[in-house]
Symmetry: C2
Subunit: 167 residues, 2 copies
DNA sequence: TATTGTTATACTCTATAACTATA
DNA sequence: TATAGTTATAGAGTATAACAATA
């Protein structure tokens, strides 16, 4: 019971109308655990899947993929290490920039991307499929509007900004 | 740019139909940063707010509030410490169980709970208010159905279970 | 000088373990 | 024996700093 939904109305069964924070926190957290469990069955994580897919679309460097997936470049290193160890991707020198590494997906990686995408699609379909049909498009529409509009950008964390390292 | 949305379609502007995982992760993450920033202005965190509200409703022990808010009891200790230091709540011995501590909200705490609840309501109203009026109830309805139904309970994390401590 | 990628590590968060005191 | 609360700390995750190679 990881408390990723740390606040507001906890007991949804009793609650006539839980608030937006609780609803978004709870549903995203649970969906994430379902996704992680489903991807783990094929030996993948959500990050590995994301990198694989973005690397397949076109030739991209680590930094480019990190930006797309909103990861730190150091997190990217760890993820690419995992993909390499699993034989799903390789680092190749860029032809145009000798500092940069192209993430090349192996045949096994391309195969895996298909499987993991099927897993992702299945998990999403199961969640949406549990809703009355008329609610499915409006849920996606409303969330998309929020994600593009009022909830597009995180605001600065008040005390959360990581301090500089002690030297 | 905390990467709490570590996967799937990153660039929402280009994406015709971002997937449910991205939408829920992104919106919940950004709403959380907005809530944290707004509550920080009155010196509160979401957890402190949650504990204060639940302690005000009726006489409750730390464990009871921890269960409602889905927190670990050790996390609860830290939160109550913060509330005590801010003069918003006090630990009082339970009349019926000398092991247990009732979380008693001070006058300042009750005042603060009003203010922080107003902050919470405002942040939610701003988010919902950014949507076309007809989408607001259906968004809440769809999320509530998911939170009570298919996405009610987290599934076990594959490798996530914390290991026993090294002795 | 700025940037890509790497290593090393510091910071935050949260849960486990062990403990005290009660039940 | 089991539970409420506490302390201390381990483990996971992630970002900062410093660095090497290159732009």
């Amino acid at each position: 019971m990881t408390s990723l939904a740390p606040a507001f109305s906890g007991d949804i069964a009793d609650c006539p109308s839980p608030d937006l924070s609780f609803l978004l926190d709870h549903t995203s957290h649970v969906l994430r655990t379902r996704m992680a469990a489903a991807l783990a069955e094929v030996g993948m994580t959500a990050r590995m899947h994301c990198v694989l897919v973005k690397a397949l679309e076109e030739e991209r460097t680590q930094i480019q993929i990190a930006e797309i997936g909103d990861m730190d470049k150091t997190t990217m290193v760890v993820t690419v290490d995992a993909l390499e160890q699993a034989g799903l991707a390789e680092r190749r020198p860029s032809a145009t920039d000798r500092r940069a590494r192209i993430i090349a997906v192996t045949d096994a990686g391309a195969e895996m991307a298909k499987r993991s995408q099927a897993v992702v699609d299945r998990v999403h379909a199961e969640a949406l499929g549990s809703l009355p049909e008329e609610l499915r498009p409006v849920l996606l529409e409303a969330l998309t509007l929020l994600a593009r509009g009022h909830l597009a950008e995180p605001v600065e964390s008040p005390a959360g900004a990581r301090r500089a390292r002690q030297v």
